[in-house]
Amino acid sequence: MSVRTLFIGMDGATFTVLDDLTKSANGGEPVMPFMARIYAEGSRAKLRSTPNPLTPPAWVSLMTGRGPGYHGVYDFIRAEEQGDDVYFTLYDARDCRVETIWSIASRQGKSVCALNFPFTAPPPSELNGVIVPGFIPWRHLRRNSYPENIYERVKAIPEFDPQELAWDFEREKQSVDELSDEDRENWVRYHLPREKQWFKVAEHLMREDRPDLMAILFDGVDKLQHQAWPYVDPNLQHGELSGFHQRMRELSLSYYRQLDGFIENLVKEAGPNVQVFFASDHGFTGSTEVVRINAWLAEKGYVHFKELPEGEAGKRRDSTNFAFLDWSKTTAYCRTPSSNGITIRVARKPGETGIDPKDYDKVRTQLIRDLEDLKDPETGERIISEIHTREDVFPGSAMDDAPDLQLVLRDFGFVSVRNLQPVVQPRDYVIGTHHPDGVFLAWGPGIEAGKVLGRRHITDVTSTLLYSLGLPVPSDLEGKVPTAMFTEDYRAKHPLEIGEATRGSVKEERGETMDAEERQQLMDQLQMLGYME
């Protein structure tokens, strides 16, 4: 048996960086020589992410071929208003309302192996293959992996260390309001062995199982770029660079160099007939300012902050980055920084607070105008460059869970929800943030060489992988196969087939909620990733 399709996810990978790292440096070898070969011998395109280019909605779209309006995963955290407080729950695989590629391929007889993908835990009850999930603490990897014996097999891999491999809240809790230079350096160093662990697992399982679809996500690209963007963005490497800057750049480049080696080894291990695809859930760019969106909404009368308790309790509450609001008066607010969304509170039942349902259109229209009015006082430029209604960007059966308005800031940053002034403030230094355009590359037999296609959509990846596997593309997938990526000869021998629709999964009511400590841990982690002020 041979691996037919190899998918390598690179969280947050962007052509801004990859183009630079695949060029020869000063006449020598590029930082990523194997990726340079992929560029030369394969096809590539920019890949447009979900309306909010964020890990949860974007990876779930990539794994399902459906937009968030159908799959229903919008953020890391789902907030629910209950009485006088808002309770927070973590999204997990059970919240995804549509079928994943792992299931689509599996039920049609293809074997799959999916490593380190978010929202694959808890795993499905039946699968023809293996899932070792991402974004799960090491203490829960065993229970959340599939099949039952897989953890024992993985544990037997020489040098396997689950604590080094897994997403670890405690280890990453070192984050603070602003990272010191030392912490930043440690943050980058932390991801070098993590990726190696995942590589070893992938190499081992691919060699032993030879799945039809082998898929691995390297998420260190995103983590590194959030904290090390000034050192990896080729546009920021000019002028006089400090010793620390040069050290961080070299350290960051060592990460990409290592990743390139992992990719080359995985491709070799997959065999000569494999088609290889690479994609990211979003791209990257630099954010230069803080936008305190709830403070702006307070100025406009939509948000009413609650008075914080005195003393330490108040300071703690203020630092949680969750809006502490007077629900009897608040009519529209932003729940989480990573959402970049505005929720309008509608009183749907007697006793509920919020606007009258019949006023919804009028309130939303005015709210859009008020958000458009947030402008740079010096240039008059709008701070919020795009404002989308949920009908426009999240049409589908899960639209009711979406924010009423989806915002795009002019620097693509994530908003702050804190009660601080000024509303817009320049950052002390540029931090990495998500850009809507990620990457999509293909290489191998049947793939056009050296071709650059027009921009594709993240949902196209699912359809493309299914086509590569020789399976029909379900009729209800939103994504299309970029046929120009494949040679004419390949297309003639492998005609594209549209098949029956996917099998849906029913969303159940969520039960668990997070306590204050866990909320804080998550906030710390999101802050580390640059989602927080």
């Binding site: 808890p122 009850s125 159940e508 039960g511 306590d515």
Partner: protein
């Protein structure tokens, strides 16, 4: 992932807790009994408790809504015993008219 549902809720809760903690390096003499406290005796953090709730939901193929056990008067309670989890499950199953 095997289904660890047993004849009684306490047996199920105990089996799930044992399964969940098998890689944690707990003292081999650690007791898993009705009075065992998940945080105090087993070292659960909040995310471990969430994972226990998910695992119990999966064992019974339902969603119990454990926030009603873990919260009192709007605040999270300090610690929970395996027996309290079992009693909560039993009460929810009774309410549904299902047998444990």
């Amino acid at each position: 992932m095997s289904n660890l549902k047993k004849d009684t809720p306490i047996d199920t809760v105990t089996a799930v807790a044992v399964d969940l903690t098998q890689d944690w390096g707990l003292d081999p003499g650690t007791k898993f009994a009705s009075e065992t406290l998940v945080a105090g005796d087993l070292g659960f953090t909040s995310i471990d408790i969430i994972q226990l709730c998910v695992a119990l939901d999966q064992s019974y193929e339902t969603r119990f809504g454990f926030q009603d056990l873990l919260m009192k008067d709007g605040s999270y309670i300090g610690d929970v015993s395996l027996g309290q989890f079992a009693d909560f499950i039993a009460s929810r199953l009774d309410a549904k008219g299902a047998s444990a």
